[in-house]
C-alpha cells in the first residue's frame, strides 16, 4: 500500500501533469526522495540546497503540518495523503 501525494498545479508539469501520484514511502524524508527519483526536479522545488524544507512550501500529512509532527521524520502509514501546499499570491 502506498501513500498518496497531492501535487499543486505549479508543480504538476514536473509530475507529468498529474494532480495525484502514489509513492511507496515510510516517512516524509523517503517520500521526498521517492518523488524526486520518479519526477526529476520536484525534490529541488521542495527543499533548499541545504536540505531544509523551503519556507514557502508546506507539507501536510493528512490535515497536519509536518512542522507540528516530526518534521521530515514524520512516519507515514499506507493510505495517508501528503499534500504539498505552496504560498500563492494571486488575487
Amino acid at each position: 500500500m502506498s501513500v498518496h501525494v497531492e501535487i499543486p498545479s505549479q508543480l504538476r508539469p514536473l509530475a507529468g501533469g498529474q494532480a495525484r501520484v502514489a509513492v511507496e514511502a515510510s516517512d516524509v524524508d523517503s517520500l521526498i526522495e521517492a518523488l524526486g527519483a520518479a519526477h526529476p526536479g520536484l525534490k529541488e522545488r521542495l527543499l533548499e540546497p541545504s536540505g531544509e524544507l523551503r519556507r514557502y512550501v508546506r507539507l501536510f500529512v493528512n490535515e497536519e503540518d509536518i512542522r507540528f509532527l516530526q518534521e521530515r521524520r514524520t512516519t507515514l502509514a499506507p493510505g495517508d495523503t501528503v499534500t504539498i501546499v505552496p504560498a500563492i499570491a494571486g488575487g
Binding site: 497531492e6 499543486p8 498545479s9 505549479q10 494532480a19 522545488r45 523551503r54 519556507r55 514557502y56 512550501v57 508546506r58 501536510f60 490535515e63 497536519e64 503540518d65 512542522r67 507540528f68 499534500t83 501546499v85 505552496p86 504560498a87 500563492i88 499570491a89 494571486g90 488575487g91
Partner: protein, 390 residues
C-alpha cells in the same frame, strides 16, 4: 370559563413577581432579562442586554435563546401583564427560576434605569434585508451590526469584486477599497465590479460606482493608492475586518504584519490558475500568515494572475468564501476559518482543510518576535514593480 380578570389573578398566583430594582440587581449578577413585547415596542427602547422574544414566538424560540433552565430569568413587558403569562409559560417549559417584573418597562424607565434605543431600520431597509431579518442568527440586531460595520477590501480585483458585491448587498455599512490600478479590458474576464465602461478608470472609482448602485446604504471609501509601510496603518485604522484580496506577496506580508501589530483580523484569500486558498488570521486567537508561510515564494515560481493566467470564475469561489467569513466575524456567529487553511481545486472540484497553528518561532507573532515594526518587502523579482491590484 374564566374571564380575563380571573385568569390573570390565577396566573399571578402561580408565578413569582418582583420589582424593577430587584430585576436590575439580578441582571448585574448574570440573570437573563427577557423582553416579550412586540418588535415596535422593543425598537422604541429596551433594557440593555435583554433578550428579545415577542410573546407570540416565546415557546418556539426561548430554548434556543435562553439555554439552561435552572438559570435566573426575569421577564418583562410594558406593564407586567403579558410578562406574567409569559412567566407561566416558561414554568410549563421547565424553567425553574422565573420572575415577572411588576410594572414592566414603564417602571424601569420611571426608575431612571438604563435604556437602549436601537437604531431602527427604515421601511425600505426592512424590505431590503428581510431575508436577513428572518434568520434568527442575524435578525434586526445583526443587520444593525452589519450596517455599522467597516470592512476594508485590499484589492478591487478578482477577489475583491465578488467579496465587495456580496458585502455591499448584505448591508455592510462602510466598505473601503484599496487599489492603485486602473481597469484594463483584460481584467473583465474575472473582476466583475468593473465593466466595459470603466476601462481606463481607477478601479476604486469604478468599484465605488458599482457598489453604490447596488446598495445606497453602503458608504464606499476609495483608497486609490498602493499600500506601503508609510500608509498602511493609517488606511486600516478605521476598519473592523480586512479582506486580503491583493495579488502580490509584498502587500500580503505588509497587511499581515500591520494587522498583527494592531490586532485586526485578516480574511485571507489567494488564487493561482485553478487553485485557491482561504483562511482567517485573527491575532491572539490563531496563527498569522507568517506562521503559515514564513517566506514568500520567489516571484519566478509564483507569478500573478496577470502573468500566469487564472480561470475567471475561480476568484468568485474564493472571494465569496472570504465574504462569508467576513459576515460571520462581524456577526459573531459560526466557526470561522481561524487556524484552518481551506484549499480549493476547481479542476478536481474539491475542498481540503488543513490545520494551521501559531508558530512559536514566528518572526512576527511568535514567542520571541523579531519583527517589531513594519517594513516593505523588497520586490525582488524580474518583473518591474507593479501597483497593487488584483
Amino acid at each position: 370559563m374564566a374571564s380575563f380578570k380571573e385568569l390573570i389573578r390565577k396566573v399571578k398566583g402561580e408565578i413569582r413577581e418582583a420589582g424593577v430594582a430587584e430585576a436590575r440587581a439580578a441582571q448585574q449578577r448574570g440573570a437573563v432579562l427577557l423582553d416579550v413585547r412586540e418588535a415596535d415596542e422593543w425598537a422604541q427602547g429596551h433594557v440593555p442586554g435583554a433578550v428579545f422574544i415577542p410573546r407570540g414566538f416565546l415557546e418556539q424560540r426561548v430554548e434556543a435563546e435562553v439555554p439552561g433552565k435552572q438559570g435566573e430569568v426575569f421577564v418583562y413587558c410594558a406593564g407586567g401583564t403579558r410578562s406574567a403569562f409569559a412567566a407561566r409559560t416558561l414554568l410549563d417549559l421547565g424553567y425553574s427560576n422565573v420572575t415577572s417584573i411588576a410594572g414592566g418597562f414603564g417602571k424601569w424607565k420611571e426608575a431612571g434605569f438604563p435604556v437602549e434605543v436601537p437604531r431602527t431600520l427604515s421601511p425600505e431597509q426592512k424590505q431590503r434585508y428581510s431575508r436577513h431579518l428572518l434568520v434568527p442568527e442575524i435578525g434586526a440586531a445583526g443587520q444593525d451590526t452589519l450596517l455599522r460595520s467597516k470592512v476594508l477590501l485590499v484589492g478591487a480585483g478578482g477577489l475583491g469584486s465578488p467579496a465587495g458585491f456580496y458585502l455591499a448587498a448584505a448591508g455592510v455599512g462602510t466598505l473601503g477599497l484599496v487599489d492603485s490600478d486602473v481597469v484594463d479590458v483584460s481584467n473583465l474576464q474575472r473582476q466583475i465590479l468593473h465593466t466595459n465602461q470603466s476601462v481606463g478608470k481607477a478601479k476604486t472609482a469604478s468599484g465605488a460606482a458599482t457598489l453604490g448602485a447596488l446598495n445606497p446604504d453602503v458608504t464606499v471609501v476609495e483608497h486609490q493608492l498602493r499600500l506601503d509601510s508609510s500608509n498602511v496603518l493609517e488606511v486600516i485604522a478605521p476598519y473592523d475586518v480586512i479582506v486580503d484580496g491583493c495579488d502580490n506577496f509584498a502587500t500580503k506580508y505588509l497587511v499581515n504584519d500591520a494587522a498583527v501589530l494592531t490586532g485586526k483580523t485578516v480574511v485571507y484569500g489567494s488564487i493561482f490558475r485553478f487553485e485557491g486558498q482561504a483562511s482567517v488570521f485573527k491575532p491572539g486567537a490563531g496563527p498569522c500568515y507568517r506562521c503559515l508561510f514564513p517566506e514568500p515564494t520567489p516571484s519566478e515560481l509564483a507569478p500573478s494572475c496577470d502573468e500566469a493566467g487564472v480561470l475567471g470564475v475561480l476568484p468568485g469561489t474564493v472571494g465569496l468564501i472570504q465574504a462569508s467569513e467576513t459576515l460571520k466575524l462581524l456577526l459573531g456567529i459560526g466557526r470561522p476559518l481561524v487556524g484552518r487553511l481551506l484549499t480549493y481545486d476547481a479542476l478536481e472540484q474539491s475542498f481540503r482543510e488543513f490545520r494551521v497553528r501559531r508558530d512559536p518561532g514566528c518572526a512576527l507573532c511568535g514567542d520571541n518576535p523579531t519583527i517589531r515594526e513594519l517594513e516593505d518587502l523588497a520586490w525582488s523579482c524580474h518583473f518591474e514593480p507593479r501597483p497593487v491590484h488584483a
